[in-house]
């Protein structure tokens, strides 16, 4: 009977495509919006993800995220280094400054000062310049998205000079890193250089990056550092979560995306629900005949479930493929750089589709179940 059911479904091309389109569209809308939402949120934590080496971030107790940071006195580094269980601890500076680009525009940049001797704090992938180039004075490494913003996409970047707080800075390399939330240009330089690029305040050490010796979990180590040094210490994951939470609490983004995802759901319910009940209504006579001929309610339920499943499977697949193509297609654009589909998102949209189809086929079935087989003789 499932064979028949599927043929009944595909027999009416218009309604079939309408149903598939409805499911595909709401899958696309939900998946794609959730993907963008999740990725945007993760961009708030990109600074943390860009330093995969650090197990623990140590900061002033007032610091909230990587961008909302209050600097520490430089002796804090020694205090952290004194904590047992640490493999190494290096200073990390984050500040903002303004540069004049070649075109004369003012651009706010984030300055990241990485440890002088080990360069811990640089994103893992630096191309095409070499990491070692940072050791020459006045050299900075720019993030790839920022490079495009400052010098235009495709233009040569290496060797470009500009003025940074009255100092000369030469770009010696380009990172391949996760852009941050505001797509701000990020310049990586050595800690000692960064001090001269950043207008002076007394304290400028913003973070201390710590690697544990592996004897305990990052969280335990963070807890110990906080206890001994009196500073705030967060494991990388915690700190990334902090950044995401900060965005959730302080921006309208969750609301906006929530609305869009809700709209996707409603559109799905509307299109699929209406089309499906239209389809059932049109074939109610055929179903009635089948019932009269002795097809049981159970079999009919199975038929409708098969129809819903087919619509769901095809529509969902197409929607997911659409999202994948979207992410893949825009993976080279600066705006969507590093975007990926979190594995939870297809599951969420799958549940949404399942919910839509379950609800609509439930309503359709109710109608079929109450249809009297005797009606075929009238």
């Amino acid at each position: 009977m499932i064979w028949i059911a599927l043929r009944m479904l595909t027999g009416d091309r218009q309604k079939f495509y309408g149903l598939v389109f409805g499911v595909a569209f709401s899958t696309l809308l939900i998946t794609q919006q959730l993907t963008i939402f999740a990725n945007l949120l993760e961009r708030g934590a990109s600074g943390v993800y860009n330093v995969p080496d650090a197990d623990v971030w140590v900061m002033d107790p007032a610091t909230r995220t990587i961008e909302v940071a209050y600097p520490l006195p430089s002796t804090a580094l020694d205090r952290v280094r004194s904590v047992p269980g640490i493999l190494w601890a290096v200073p990390h500076l984050r500040a903002t400054a303004s540069v004049r680009t070649g075109a004369g525009n003012l651009e706010a940049v984030a300055i990241v000062g990485v440890d002088d001797s080990t360069l811990v704090g640089l994103p893992p992938r630096v191309a095409p310049g070499k990491v070692a180039a940072l050791t020459s004075p006045g050299s900075v490494i720019i993030d790839d998205v920022g490079a495009g913003r400052m010098f235009g996409v495709g233009n040569p970047v290496i060797g470009q000079r500009f003025e940074l707080n009255d100092q000369r800075a030469v770009i010696r390399g380009v990172t391949d890193s996760f852009p941050n939330f505001t797509n701000q240009v990020t310049l990586y330089t050595r800690y000692s250089e960064a001090l001269s690029y950043v207008p002076g305040t007394r304290n400028r050490l913003t973070f201390i990056l710590v690697k544990g010796d592996g004897a305990m979990t990052d969280q335990e180590l963070a807890h110990r550092i906080a206890k001994i040094s009196g500073l705030r210490a967060r494991s990388s994951e915690q700190f990334a979560d902090d950044a995401i939470e900060y965005i959730l609490e302080n921006t309208g983004i969750p609301m906006n995306f929530g609305i869009t995802v809700g709209l996707g759901f409603i559109i799905g319910v509307a299109i699929v629900g209406l089309t499906f009940s239209l389809f059932i209504r049109d074939s109610i006579k055929q179903f009635g005949a089948l019932k009269a001929m002795g097809v049981s309610n159970k079999a009919i339920r199975r038929m409708v479930t098969a129809q819903a499943s087919m619509i769901g499977l095809i529509g969902y697949s197409l929607g997911l493929v659409g999202t994948a193509l979207f992410v893949w297609g825009f993976s080279n654009s600066a705006t969507f750089k590093g975007f990926y589909i979190p594995w939870q998102v297809p599951l969420i949209s799958f549940s949404a589709v399942a919910l839509i189809l379950a609800a609509t086929s439930r309503i359709a079935l109710n109608r079929l179940m109450t249809t009297e087989p005797a009606a075929v003789f009238r």
Binding site: W3, K285, M293, G294, R378
Partner: protein, 239 residues
Amino acid sequence: MTPVTRQSAAISARGVTRAFRSGSQVVDVLHGVDLDIRAGELTYLIGESGSGKTTLVSILCGILWPTAGDVRVFGTDIYTLSDRELTDFRLRNIGFIFQQYNLLSSIDAASNAAVPLIAQGMRVVEARDQALAMLEKLNIADQAEKLPSQLSGGQQQRVAIARALVHAPKLIVCDEPTAALDATSGRRVMNLLREVAIQRDRACIIVTHDNRVFDLADRIVELEDGRIIDQGRQLSETD
């Protein structure tokens, strides 16, 4: 010719009453109908519109529960069965030819004819093979792969007949087979039915009010206002 007795009848109804609720009033459509139908005969159920013939045939073929009375189909008291058992009984033992044929519009003629077999759980390929054989009997095997919408009314009806016969049911119920046809076509259909449907162990009920084909019945049962006014008029001289 032997008189019809309850034991010898293929289908036997006793005291079948059916009441419908119409607003606050309860209207009795059937008033204690007793009926026996033989196997191997073509039985007409005739009557004016509103005489209750549709209700009666629905009850006889197990798709409408009577308010009172019992119906035996080849010895099975069908209204003592559970709903599920009754549905399954219909599936295996009764063939339907609906007035509007009610073919499934999106599957081809052979598949339509195979529906009862498929519903019984037979594999689609086998069911279609059997259905094709039946279509051949009905001389429309060449139309087997067309959709109902591509067939003429007569062809559709033959497919519907094939569907009613394909699973070799014991009872065939046919609702107004000639209503939409001219006299010649109506007679052709009736003759066809006589040809393919009537077997010794099979009962065949045709609901109609088309008096042009009365002469093709073996027996005519007439209904008026929910009562049988004429049972078992034997018209045919064939046996």
